[in-house]
Symmetry: C2
Subunit: 293 residues, 2 copies
């Protein structure tokens, strides 16, 4: 069994990106610039956003953070997005989700210029991903693909079972892995809350991707010997032994599942760090106009 | 075993659409207008296009057909698309595929205003379909959904296996059937040319959708007793007994598979007529601005 060290791969890719940025600057080019919009003070959102800002520093990107209180109006956010869309210095930007209930998230997402949509949530990027065209790939699925690539895990003809059908993980990772590409060429099964017998499906998986957000859901009896297990879960569970009072818990019962696997991602330190690196990668692609002109 | 009579359902839906058009006209509204662009003289394309024109008549739509020879340039087609995009009388239009090799199909598709893209091929419509937002659905998948609906086939929690991962059938029908919706809520498996053991997957299917374009590929041993089988294949095979010299052949060995099924679509007369009706339905949605303003 080999642990897929997402933290190490993420560090390596950030160094590669930083080296590329140095070359860009050396050639007299513009420093990539990622902007982020953060509404309110949710602990998770604050922590993700500060990790992204830190990753920008490591990659040599310029970053800017626009903060709003919980009572910001939808129109104020839309105006901010218009400004960011027009700002030539901003290569890409993200609006940290979730947003307060009085704001229509989908309207916000669609207001973002798809050429700056480095989160890959705009319907144009989602559609292009499905068709198999170059696009900004949703960060978590893109991070999973990078891990499979870096660990040389052969996906062709493998049966990949995805648990979860969210728009930001389950659906796009299924889409990427069924493409005629490498990584890709998987037979893909998508299970979800309406699947009556999830274990029957997961036991057939050569590659199992758990992205449902239920701590410890995937138990040892649900996994075939030798499977590759990718754990996307990042639920905060109370933990009195930690200073923070909580710890991150994956969707996989790691202790009992790991011994059966050929490869497995831990939580934390697996998919999580790759998600942020994918965002950095998308920002570099945006700054160098490798997807859109 | 019940045969799913796509021809009959299609006739019924066309009558429903025609009745709605009559009401629109009675209220002083505008007659829906579908335009089609046809390049060259391929037999299949000619035949599809004339079926679409005929269906427009049956629905009470205005239709117009713009024809070009094989040597039309990409720029000429793009200019035509610009005109159709701007023409307020045209509610929706399609460019019949395939196009000659010197023309970039994807560029043509993306030039179409997504609000008039009644084929549902534009990345925005593909993306919205994946996310689960209102959109113009690709015609064949939408036709399959309508058949499941009209026959009251329960899809919730069922295992749907799709053979084929094309952008116009396999991927979008998989996407529609995994949505949190009704029809929908299926566990979905997508098999394709890189799947080593397709029969192992198809034998688990409650609903089997064959969309690979290989006549008679699905044999009786590949189907579970009581399965719902949807045959999307429409390959022309030589047939000396026909006046035309050919007949349409599905992807399913109908004679031997049908007895095992709970429901099955024949070829012809199953999915085929529904594809054209979906296009009519999309055109009505476009004319009445039910998807986009």
């Amino acid at each position: 069994m080999q642990i897929i060290d997402g933290k190490q791969v993420a560090e390596q890719i950030k160094q590669e990106i930083a080296a590329e940025v140095q070359q860009i600057i050396a050639r007299g080019g513009k420093r990539p610039h990622l902007a982020g919009v953060l509404v309110g003070h949710d602990g998770g959102s604050e922590s993700y956003m500060s990790s992204k800002v830190k990753a920008c520093e490591q990659c040599g990107f310029k970053s800017s953070l626009l903060r709003y209180e919980e009572d910001v109006t939808e129109q104020q956010l839309l105006d901010t997005i218009t400004k960011l869309n027009r700002d030539d210095d901003v290569d890409g930007f993200i609006v940290q989700l979730p947003l307060p209930r009085h704001i229509n998230e989908q309207r916000i997402i669609e207001a973002i210029d798809y050429r700056k949509d480095v989160d890959g949530f705009h319907p144009i990027n989602v559609g292009r991903l499905s068709i198999g065209l170059p696009c900004f790939r949703s960060a978590t699925p893109a991070g999973i693909i990078m891990l499979l690539e870096r660990y040389g895990i052969d996906t062709r003809g493998k049966h990949c079972v995805v648990i979860g059908r969210s728009n930001i993980v389950g659906k796009p990772v299924a889409s990427l892995l069924m493409q005629k590409s490498n990584p890709g060429n998987c037979t893909v099964t998508v299970c979800h809350s309406a699947t009556p017998n999830i274990a029957e499906h997961t036991r057939q998986a050569d590659i199992l991707i758990a992205a449902l957000g239920k701590p410890g859901f995937v138990t040892a009896d649900m996994v075939r010997d030798g499977a590759v297990v990718i754990d996307v879960g990042t639920t905060r569970v109370p933990d009195a032994t930690r200073k923070s009072g909580w710890r991150l818990c994956g969707d996989v019962d790691y202790e009992h599942v790991a011994p059966r696997c050929s490869y497995i991602t831990p939580v934390p330190g697996g998919v999580g760090p790759m998600t942020i690196v994918s965002l950095m990668h998308n920002t570099l692609l945006a700054a160098t106009h490798q997807i859109y002109q």
